[in-house]
């Protein structure tokens, strides 16, 4: 193995600039003549705007211009995924204006932009704007939104976006009729605020000489923003619109979407003929970054007398918030319901999803997107079914796993898993977690007055979000491939232009390892360039753990082309047939001879083609590839959590967290481990701490870190992580994806552990987040109930 190649824990190349404060984030960029934008946002959840008085604000010091929805008559912010109702009719897709058109629909909705010489002046002037809001009742609660007479959008009767289904309801119902045992649960997947460390920011710029626009933005996919904003909202053709997403400080999904502020600053820059910078304050992030999760589901699992799963049915309500954010509609359907087979052989599955409008911030993909929701409800059901039927957590899973020899495995809910070995990950996880020693640890904890519990979760997820053909048939309004361009410079160093975008994932290292490994050159000679539509030909960006499985494969394809061309050049110089050229360890050799040429010499020759046969061989060494995979990839694993609960206070301490994941081939073990650590922290955060709460008026109660609880280092144990490997069968690297597994697999493991600790006290269920107060309430409720019996 090359020590900077595949499988090496190379230290992250990008970390020097990040750790020394030398990253270039959007807010670090300042353009000549720049002005500052402040977005005036609605303080109320639902209101008619009867008038906006700008007179005083326009006269305030430093103000350059103020625009409202009346001024900004542009296209609606598009939704990227159409979902059909079960009767085949299209979903309800009300307009999503960048600046409010006569109505505001959530606290934080954009009402106006104030542009001034400084941010402070813009903000001060905004306070002088007098908006006449005629308040309307708010639809704040997902569970009851469909029954409310108040409509978020007049275009969406009953506040329904769509009523979608997968599977044959009648067939599944029949299975339930004859089932030996049915486990039923009402399951809430709590709403989360993404909280990337870097708040969103955008700079819009217009060059009147060329008619070109530039948008600098905190995005996970600049080309997608160019397409959505250019083609749909502002009608700017691609060749006149450059979108740059420089260093981005975390996204977790929340920076996939095309946001109103991007369109507002780009549009307004053309009006004022000066660049405009906007950056969210943290409280603004809470009110304007798309939130995640927020499902309520009635879920039921049918078992036969042997404990085999024979049917699953789910009725889910999914909160869309006030407007359809870019990928909001596909999350509860194609990223959630299609995952409901999990790692099990359940033969019949039905899922109905009603997507619901409410007067809350839009909800969209957040680390895991749909798959954590599916995994949570499934693993909670399995845990409960085991308890109800007297099986152990290990036994019920082993009995129902898709066996190793059944791959490729066609699930009843559209997906076909290519590879996996679920028993192997469970075996290894149980070993690493020392499940055998748990009872002793539980007794020891009891002697200290603590309740100790152990919880399992065995999951599979679908990532490497692609193939265009599949997603297209499911309603995606875009293709989901990736591009790569390998530019070999004359002295043999390499720049890779990738359509993936790194915002914490370490692509600049992992992708460079692919090149170092493949071309046999030092990793220092490889740079990865991303995030600029003027540099990268095209890209679909980074989300759904797709960067390596899709973007990395595109790089491999381009590398193949580079090697093929290099062989031709070597053959020409070495006067051999290119079919006889072998490439190994950075050297091109004529097979069976000692005649060889180093990669660097080939590169130089490519650019100094003094005697090239120009009809056969072009100068230069640069190759482009687009890769569109055959299938999703299917990482899977087993997470085992151990908690200790203080019954006096309800505090849950995560004392051990084991994650055994099969992410396919591991390119950089250190980076994979880091990704899993981050995912676990978010998963534990969701299970025990995080939860966005609205009051009945649609005010966000958890609008700052005083009330929205983020996990901190001292909330987390040292993680025990490991990998097992089955290779993806349809990409050359055999890679699957690791970016989301931690957040997908862990929440049910944590909650199952909490329930395990409390079961003997009479507690049967607890909702996320299992805060101290919630746990204490559950214990006390159970105590009271037991006393009453």
């Amino acid at each position: 193995m090359n020590d900077t190649g595949i499988g090496a824990s190379v230290r992250r190349k990008e970390d020097f600039r990040f750790l020394t404060g030398q990253g270039t984030y959007t807010d670090d960029i300042n353009r000549p003549g720049q002005t500052y934008g402040y977005i005036l946002r609605s303080p109320v959840a639902h209101a008619k705007i009867n008038g906006i008085d700008l007179a005083e604000a326009k006269a305030a010091p430093g103000v350059v211009a103020i625009f409202t929805g009346d001024d900004m008559q542009v296209g609606s912010i598009p939704c990227g995924w159409g979902v059909n109702n079960k009767d085949g009719s299209p979903m309800n897709e009300p307009p999503h204006p960048a600046l409010a058109q006569g109505k505001v629909r959530h606290v934080g909705d954009q009402v106006a932009i104030v542009i001034a010489e400084s941010y402070a002046e813009a903000r001060a002037a905004a306070e002088l704007i007098d908006v006449d809001y005629e308040e309307l009742p708010a639809v704040a609660d997902l569970a009851t939104a469909l029954d409310q007479s108040t409509l978020v959008h007049d275009e969406a009767p009953g506040n329904l976006c769509y009523d979608w289904e997968i599977g044959e309801e009648a067939q599944v119902n029949a299975i339930f009729e004859s089932a030996h045992h049915v486990t039923s649960m009402d399951i809430v997947n709590n709403r989360l605020v993404p909280n990337a460390m870097e708040p969103r920011a955008a700079i819009g710029e217009y060059d009147s000489a060329t008619g070109e626009y530039t948008l600098y933005t905190t995005s996970q996919n600049p080309h997608v923003i160019r397409l959505l904003m250019g083609a749909f909202v502002l009608q700017i053709p691609e060749h006149k619109l450059r979108v740059v997403a420089p260093d981005v400080g975390g996204g977790f999904g929340s920076k996939i979407f095309h946001y109103a502020e991007e369109a507002i600053v780009t549009w307004a820059a053309q009006k004022v003929r000066r660049p405009i910078k906007w950056r969210a304050e943290r409280s603004e992030s809470f009110l304007s970054d798309a939130h995640g999760r927020d499902h309520v589901t009635k879920a039921e699992l049918a078992l036969d007398q042997d404990g085999k799963f024979i049917g699953l049915r789910c009725y889910t309500k999914a909160n869309m918030g006030a407007y359809l954010s870019t990928f909001s509609t596909c999350v509860p359907t194609y990223l959630h319901a299609t995952l409901l087979a999990g790692v099990y052989t359940t033969p019949a599955i039905y899922c109905n999803v009603k997507a619901v409008f409410t007067n809350t911030v839009p909800v969209d993909a957040y680390r895991g997107a749909g798959r954590p929701e599916a995994t949570y409800l499934l693993e909670r059901l399995v845990d409960r079914a085991a308890r109800e039927t007297g099986m152990s957590q290990s036994e019920i899973r082993r009995k129902n796993f898709i066996p190793e020899d059944a791959f490729p495995y066609q699930t009843p809910v559209a997906l076909q898993y290519d590879s996996g070995n679920y028993t192997a990950t469970l075996d290894r996880a149980e070993e690493l977690a020392d499940v055998a020693g748990f009872q002793a640890r539980r007794s020891e904890a009891a002697s200290r007055g603590k309740l100790r519990g152990l919880g399992y979760s065995t999951y599979v997820e679908a990532c490497g979000i692609a193939p265009s053909a599949v997603v297209g048939s499911l309603g995606a309004r875009a293709g989901l491939f990736e591009s790569a361009n390998i530019r070999v410079h004359p002295t043999g160093s390499v720049t890779v232009y990738t359509g993936s975008h790194s915002h914490g994932q370490g692509h600049e290292t992992t992708f460079a390892q692919l090149v170092s490994d493949s071309l046999g050159i030092p990793i220092e000679n490889v740079d990865i360039s991303h995030g600029d539509t003027n540099k990268v030909a095209f890209g679909m960006g980074t989300y759904g753990s797709r960067s390596l499985a899709v973007g990395g494969e595109a790089i491999m394809k381009a590398l193949d082309k580079v090697i093929t061309k290099s062989k031709k050049i070597a053959a020409h110089v070495l006067e051999a047939d290119s079919a006889d050229i072998e490439f190994k360890d950075g050297k091109f050799t004529v097979a069976g001879t000692d005649r060889e040429m180093a990669f660097g010499d080939v590169a130089l020759t490519a650019y100094v083609p003094h005697n090239f046969p120009h009809d056969e061989l072009e100068p230069g060494l640069e190759e482009q590839a687009f890769y569109d995979p055959m299938n999703f990839t299917y990482p899977a694993g087993c997470h085992i959590c151990e908690v200790e609960i203080d019954p006096d206070t309800g505090v849950v301490e995560v004392v051990a967290m084991t994650a055994m994941d099969d992410v396919g081939r591991v390119i950089n073990p250190m980076i994979v481990e880091g990704q899993i650590h981050g995912g676990l922290a978010q998963g534990i955060g969701q299970a025990l701490m995080e939860g966005a709460r609205y009051d009945d008026d649609g005010q966000l109660l958890t609008g700052s870190y005083m009330d929205y609880c983020m996990p901190r280092a001292d909330d987390l144990p040292d993680f025990k992580v490991g990998t097992t490997t089955t290779l993806c069968t349809h990409n050359s690297l055999g890679v699957k994806g690791c970016g989301e597994v931690g957040a997908i697999g862990s929440p049910p493991a944590v909650i199952n552990a909490v329930v395990d600790a409390l079961w003997d006290q009479g507690v049967r269920d607890i909702a996320m987040p299992a805060t101290p107060n919630a746990v204490w309430n559950a214990l006390n409720g159970a105590k009271t109930a037991m006393a009453a019996e």
Partner: protein, 265 residues
């Protein structure tokens, strides 16, 4: 933040004068509460008078059974003071758990008490230990000082100069942090003073810090954790928010109270 004039006072009298001259002056100590308030535009004082240059307000002295802490003494100084650690370890411990290192290095005892946040820690120390708050005008006993949510007995422009803590026989502060903010969801100071036991609770009261008479008389009878298995009669209204119901807070008062008694030894 709105615009304001900034003054750095070199002495208390200098600060008093600056306050008198300002149309709407406000003292800034560590700024850990005031500056976030200004940044959120929730206050707009005309002038900020910084006490950071008043060396007379900073420092810790022990005289017999009294520990005197200057108003501008930071949480970190109290936490790390050998004198406080030996005279009233509960107080040093309390200070060491306020906020994070940055907050402790800037935030001051005077600022905390003047602010009287219902979830702040120091009010429980003052009330629990029976401290005396010394101002530029008078001395106020803790029982009279904390008058409601963010309300104190301070007059407009009155400046806290020091806090005098009597040394307890034993004392312990137990804090149950709010999971999100890590202020006190409930914090209980139990102190055995020569005059009797005092129990003060922060974080829980709808009107701020308060004493629990029932616990005090029970502990006066027998200073043991089991003495607290009694009804807490005459509790004031308790706070209700997304982190804790009144019932949960009441439970925590007992649990933290018992833990404090146990830790007193």
């Amino acid at each position: 933040m709105y615009e304001f004039n900034y003054h750095k006072a070199s002495s208390v009298s200098d600060a008093e004068q600056a306050l008198r001259n300002a149309s709407d002056g406000k003292i800034v100590a560590g700024g850990q509460t005031l500056l976030p308030t200004l940044k959120q535009r929730l206050a707009s004082p005309s002038d900020l008078i910084d006490l950071g240059g008043c060396s007379e307000l900073c420092g810790i002295s022990v005289d017999g059974d009294t520990v005197t802490i200057g108003a501008m003494t930071t949480h970190a100084m109290v936490a790390n003071s050998a004198e406080v650690q030996s005279a009233i370890p509960a107080l040093a411990g309390l200070a060491s758990n306020i906020g994070d290192a940055q907050v402790r290095n800037l935030g001051t005892i005077g600022g905390s008490i003047a602010n009287n946040d219902p979830a702040a820690d120091y009010p429980a120390a003052c009330l629990g230990l029976g401290a005396v708050i010394v101002t530029d005008k008078r001395e106020i006993v803790a029982d009279d000082f904390f008058t409601g949510l963010f309300e104190t007995a301070l007059d407009e422009h009155e400046i806290i100069t020091a806090i005098r803590f009597p040394k307890p026989e034993k004392a312990c502060y137990q804090k149950f942090p709010n999971p999100a903010s890590r202020y006190a969801l409930v914090g209980v100071m139990v102190a055995k003073m020569s005059s009797g036991v005092r129990v003060a609770v922060t974080g829980a009261g709808a009107d701020g810090v308060f004493r629990v008479d029932a616990f005090e008389s029970a502990l006066d009878g027998s200073f043991s954790a089991s003495s607290l298995d009694i009804e807490m009669v005459h509790l004031p209204d308790l706070l209700e928010d997304i982190h804790g119901s009144p019932g949960y807070r009441e439970n925590l008062i007992r649990v933290m109270g018992k833990r404090a008694v146990e830790a007193c030894g």
